[in-house]
């Protein structure tokens, strides 16, 4: 399903996103489970704050990683995250 690009995104209620020093990566926590995130997934989810939209996130990432063409990858990931119920459209 396609995600609106200009609407604010938020983490779904039961999910918590945090940095795990022992594992040296970001994780997504939810009841009875744990998703170990890749570096790029961590960079994307870090920017989900209840205000930023998919477009804002792409822009922020392109500033942080200049020269990379990230747009489609970021949107693909956000769509997967939305389908899996990790994030919602505010």
């Amino acid at each position: 399903m396609s995600l609106p690009l200009d609407k604010a995104l938020a983490l779904e209620k039961q999910y918590r996103f945090q940095w795990e020093p022992a594992q040296k990566r970001h994780v997504l926590l939810y009841p009875e489970g744990l998703i170990q995130l890749t570096e790029s997934a961590g960079e994307i989810l870090k920017r989900i704050d209840g205000n930023a939209s998919a477009e804002d996130i792409v822009e922020s990432l392109e500033q942080a990683f200049p020269g990379a063409d990230l747009k489609q990858d970021v949107i693909d990931f956000l769509e997967v995250a939305h389908d899996k119920g990790w994030i919602r459209v505010n």
């Binding site: 209620k13 795990e20 594992q23 926590l29 939810y30 009841p31 744990l34």
Partner: protein
């Protein structure tokens, strides 16, 4: 540190999941309880609040991040809120596993304040009579009240119902009740035959037909409710021909800490002979996890015998459950007899055959059951 570590522990990663059994005290008397038969032996040696906080901090430093607070009934301890709040501050995602007895509005508010992430409520059955019968105390009304409180405090409603021969035919009422309570997740888990459930095994194991009916009903609800109420149906492992891959193997991601501080790679491990389980009072959790001989005993696969040793599925199920292998075959290094490749598999199929015979009604079985209560525990310990 008196014991020498059992040698090579090349780059074991830390536990991810801690289960803190903060007390074995419990007002209920479930016939399928997985607490050890001699649970009363821990009454005088429970860890203090500070000792819990210290052990949880050490496990957190190793990378543990999911924390279950269970028991017994964890609410029996007046410091459950403190332990939850401290653990949340450390960065744990904390789940309270409770029968609901003792969960007042005051306490749930305190848990919320302390950052508790989830409450998992267990239900024995949906019909008041059988619910009371199975836990032999009158708790059903109370649980409905607690379910409303959980919703009111904006927690997802996670219900856990242990299924067995005496209640599985009530699946329809159980699911109707869950729907009425607006449950978000319902786990319908068949009882596993350890401890008290093992004592009561022949009265608790459902027949194939009972399971089939229950699955059909569950599927009907699933189709109608979809994501609104997620349903998980867990089969009794006796009906499978491959064992469950318990917690991804021994000492791999799960750490259980018993009320008296004993550190165990699984709930049931206390029963295994020849292993000296370390106590969080005497040892740092890092040493326990990485160095102690008990946590290394069945790590990896070098301990395996045939048929597991040369089996190409050993990375999938790790040979099954050590406790079940010991309990049924007398040797914890055997394959879990649930596996059809096990030479002891008939120990499972014989029980399954027994479960197909028609049997007396629940009321007639009642006096034959072992109820999990202090008196029975002490009697069984003396045996």
């Amino acid at each position: 540190m008196t014991k020498a570590g059992s040698g090579s522990t090349d780059a074991v990663s830390g536990p991810l999941w801690v289960n803190a059994e903060i007390t074995y005290k419990c007002p209920l008397h479930c016939v399928f309880c997985y607490n050890p038969l001699d649970y009363t032996s821990t009454y005088d040696s429970e860890l203090s609040t500070d000792e819990w906080v210290k052990a949880l901090r050490e496990a957190r430093a190793l990378g543990a991040v999911q924390l279950g607070i269970s028991g017994g009934e964890p609410l029996v301890r007046k410091d459950a809120e403190v332990i939850v709040a401290e653990a949340t501050k450390m960065g744990y995602y904390v789940n309270l596993i409770t029968s609901g007895v003792g969960l007042t509005e005051e306490r749930i508010a305190a848990f919320k304040e302390g950052g508790l992430a989830q409450i998992q409520l267990s239900f024995q059955d949906s019909t008041k009579e059988l619910n009371d019968f199975l836990s032999s105390t009158r708790t059903f009304e109370l649980k409905l009240k607690v379910a409303r409180l959980i919703k009111q405090y904006d927690y997802p409603m996670v219900l856990n119902v242990v299924l067995h021969r005496l209640n599985i035919d009530h699946i329809e009422q159980i699911l109707e009740m869950a729907e009425a309570m607006e449950a978000d997740h319902v786990e319908l888990a068949n009882s596993q035959y350890y401890s008290w459930a093992m004592k009561n095994r022949e009265y608790l194991m459902p027949s194939r037909e009972q399971i089939q009916n229950a699955r059909v009903v569950t599927e009907r609800f699933r189709e109608r409710l979809g994501n609104k109420m997620k349903l998980y149906f867990v089969m009794p492992d006796y009906y499978a021909d491959r064992p469950k891959a318990c917690m991804k193997g021994w000492g791999s991601l799960f750490l259980n800490i018993a009320p008296d501080g004993l550190a165990l790679p699984c709930h049931e491990a206390r029963m295994l002979p020849g292993l000296e389980f370390p106590n969080v009072r005497d040892h740092d959790v890092a040493w326990i996890w990485n160095e102690s001989s008990a946590f290394n005993a069945y790590r990896g696969d070098s301990w395996m015998q045939e048929p597991c040793r040369s089996c190409d599925e050993k990375d999938k199920d790790f040979g099954g459950c050590r406790c079940q292998a010991f309990m049924l075959t007398g040797d914890a290094t055997n394959a879990d007899p649930v596996c059809s490749k096990s030479p002891h598999h008939s120990l499972i199929t014989e029980q399954v055959e027994l479960a197909q015979q028609s049997r007396t009604s629940a009321e007639e079985v009642r006096p034959l059951l072992f109820y999990r209560d202090d008196k029975t525990s002490r009697t069984l310990t003396m045996e």
